[in-house]
């Protein structure tokens, strides 16, 4: 057991290390001198680039050999110094990113978990009722095929500007300051509904379809046949099939995390929701590479953390995995 976990930890550390290195390597892979590259982009910002050039040069230590640059980069990273933002000039990247993270998490985590639970339940239902299977199932396919940003725009336009039921930008109305009062929380939720809905519904379809197929396989498995041969009522057969079909869905959850990031980014942009996604989009428009790198690392960190958690938790959920790990 310990060996399995230590191998997993090693794998995730390695993955994180590779992610950081990619993040560091790409600007250097690009043709031309990365600093000149950055400066040529910066020159359009009317800040005094002489001082910035000196600072960047010192920051990157371009004269030193490549490897020591890399060590410098890692050292800064460990102290949480992700560099200086250009478009939000005085603020450091670490500050910007850590301020945006809570908003992203409150949006994506509920969307992922709720869509997982509701989707699996609906999928199990569809495998049982033929009527549901023929009418709703094709609708779910269309749902998974919908780009997140289009669903967000549709909801924003329909429920937002046309019917004026929900605000369509920001995490809370501008006149308020974040405080723990009930009215602020209500206002916050009021802004939260539409972005949540657009991630939730697109994810929902995927889980429902996955569960519908998995349950059909489980209902056809030998242990279900044996239960029916012993006269067990459908309720028990379905309960067992649902539990076993949910296990592969949990591993699916881990993989899905990486995909849902796409949705989060574009949805946040449409609703102007101040999460990591919006920061990333603004940084790209403003050619602010430090923020882009910082946002990338934060996204990768969250996804890796969640994946690691699910991998370890899965050992305690599925006895077959636990058994194959310890060896008979």
């Amino acid at each position: 057991m310990k060996k399995y976990i230590s191998r997993k930890i090693f794998m995730y550390l390695l993955t994180f290390f590779v992610a950081i290195s990619i993040n560091w390597l790409i600007p250097r892979m690009m043709p031309g001198d990365p600093i000149l590259n950055l400066i040529s982009k910066l020159s359009r910002q009317a800040t005094n680039n002489a001082r910035l050039y000196a600072e960047l040069n010192q920051k990157f230590g371009m004269d030193k050999p490549l490897f020591s640059q890399y060590l410098l980069y890692l050292k800064n990273l460990t102290q949480g110094d992700l560099g200086q933002s250009i478009i939000f000039y005085p603020k450091t990247v670490a500050a910007i990113v850590s301020k945006a993270l809570p908003y992203s998490l409150t949006l994506t985590i509920p969307a992922i978990l709720l869509s997982f639970l509701v989707g699996n339940y609906l999928g199990a239902l569809a495998a049982r009722k033929k009527m549901l299977d023929n009418t709703v199932l094709p609708f779910w396919y269309v749902l998974t095929a919908t780009p997140y940003l289009w669903l967000s725009m549709l909801l924003a336009w329909l429920l937002g500007s046309k019917l004026n039921l929900f605000p369509i930008s920001g995490a809370y109305s501008f006149s308020r300051l974040p405080s723990a009062t009930l009215s602020f929380v209500l206002d916050y939720l009021h802004h939260w509904v539409l972005p949540f809905a657009s991630i939730f519904f697109v994810q929902l379809g995927g889980w429902a379809i996955g569960m519908r197929n998995l349950i059909i396989y489980e209902l056809d498995a030998d242990y279900s046949k044996y239960l029916r041969a012993l006269g067990a009522p459908d309720k028990l057969v379905r309960r067992y099939a649902y539990r076993n079909a949910r296990l592969p869905q949990i591993t699916g959850l881990a993989v899905q995390l990486g995909v849902v990031v796409v949705g989060a980014i574009t949805t946040e942009v449409v609703f102007g929701y101040p999460g990591i996604g919006l920061i990333l989009a603004q940084a790209i428009l403003g050619q602010d590479y430090f923020v882009v790198q910082g946002a990338f690392l934060m996204v990768v960190l969250c996804v890796l953390g969640a994946n690691f958690f699910i991998d370890i938790a899965y050992i305690f959920i599925d006895p077959r995995v636990r058994h194959s790990m310890i060896g008979d």
């Binding site: 498995a221 030998d222 242990y223 046949k225 044996y226 239960l227 029916r228 041969a229 012993l230 006269g231 067990a232 009522p233 309720k235 028990l236 067992y240 539990r243 076993n244 296990l247 599925d318 006895p319 077959r320 058994h323 008979d328």
Partner: protein, 317 residues
């Protein structure tokens, strides 16, 4: 007579028509008797066991009746059959090695099963433990997952579970074919022991392995292409078979007494007929060395000894 089967027919509905897998089969199993049912693959022996316990599409009941302890089984009404399943009629399936839910402990599995069948688990718990000891399985097995057991152990656990309510008829469907020789002997001896201990009243033991039947079966029923060829006491079927197919089948079995050089066994030429539209009359006529014109009509049952029936026109049986 605990089990009487009359003109039973199970067909499979397919796109090209219905496959007559089991076509007008009649036999009976006395109390305390192990009836061996043998035949090559495709002769309908597994269709018989699965049909008796659970008729589900694409299989359908096309005719005939089955009486168990005098009561007519509603084979074509699955939910009505539920009252009989597991209580009076139970099965050890061919896929016994993965018949238990892999993610549930064995004790928990039996508990769920009992509660779902409306049986109070505390009454059964002691019996379940005794039966596990009877098949020489450790008590602690209830806390383990099916994946942690060997093939032989899983087979025995399923045998205990299937017979927990002392059914009067136990259907065994090819339970030895997936096992090694030594485990095979243990499992077949256990089936005989279950009958001796009156845990089950009668047993139908389906297999393609005729030597196993010679060891534990009281009577043997030989099936060919969905119909009964011959049925009778084990000794007569093996050493004094009357139906040409049974004679050829037993002759084609190499056994520990003869080698290739001493006695070259002969095989049966040709292939069993397709059951989509089976030939008229005796279905073995294409491959039978004693074929006669009258073989084009369906042979009637003829008694050639006490409880020894043959479906064949041949005069000097």
């Amino acid at each position: 007579m605990s089990v009487e089967v009359e003109n039973l027919k199970f067909y499979y509905r397919t796109r090209k028509g219905s496959v007559k897998a089991l076509d007008d089969v009649s036999f009976s199993i006395a109390d305390g008797e192990i009836l061996g049912i043998a035949g090559e693959s495709g002769c309908g022996k597994s269709t018989l066991s699965n049909g008796l316990i659970h008729v589900c599409p694409p299989m359908e009941l096309a005719g005939g009746s089955v009486r168990l302890d005098g009561k007519n089984l509603p084979l074509d009404k699955p939910d009505e059959m539920n009252t009989y399943r597991f209580r009076n009629l139970s099965i050890i399936p061919q896929y016994a090695l993965n018949a238990m839910n892999p993610t549930v402990k064995i004790g928990r599995y039996v508990q769920d099963l009992m509660q779902s069948r409306g049986i109070d688990y505390s009454a059964i718990e002691k019996l379940f433990a005794d039966r596990l000891r009877f098949v020489r399985l450790p008590e602690g097995i209830q806390k383990r997952y099916p994946i942690e057991l060997s093939g032989g152990m899983k087979q025995r656990v399923v045998m205990v579970i299937s017979t927990l309510l002392n059914p009067s008829l136990l259907l065994c469907d090819e339970i030895t074919s997936a096992l090694d020789v030594s485990t095979q002997k243990v499992v077949s001896a256990l089936v005989a022991a279950f009958r001796d201990e009156k845990i089950v009243k009668s047993v139908s033991f389906v297999t393609h392995d005729v030597p196993v039947l010679y060891q534990i079966a009281d009577r043997i029923l030989i099936m060919y292409a969905g119909q009964v060829a011959e049925a009778g006491p084990t000794e007569e079927i093996i050493h004094a078979a009357k139906h040409p197919y049974t004679q050829a089948l037993v002759a084609a079995m190499p056994e520990m007494a003869s080698t290739y050089r001493q006695k070259k066994h002969a095989s049966i030429p040709g292939k069993p007929p397709a059951l989509l539209d089976p030939p008229e009359g005796c279905r073995f006529k294409e491959r039978c060395p004693y074929r006669m014109p009258c073989c084009d009509e369906r042979p009637q049952k003829r008694l050639v000894g006490n409880g020894h029936e043959v479906y064949c026109w041949k005069e000097d049986l």
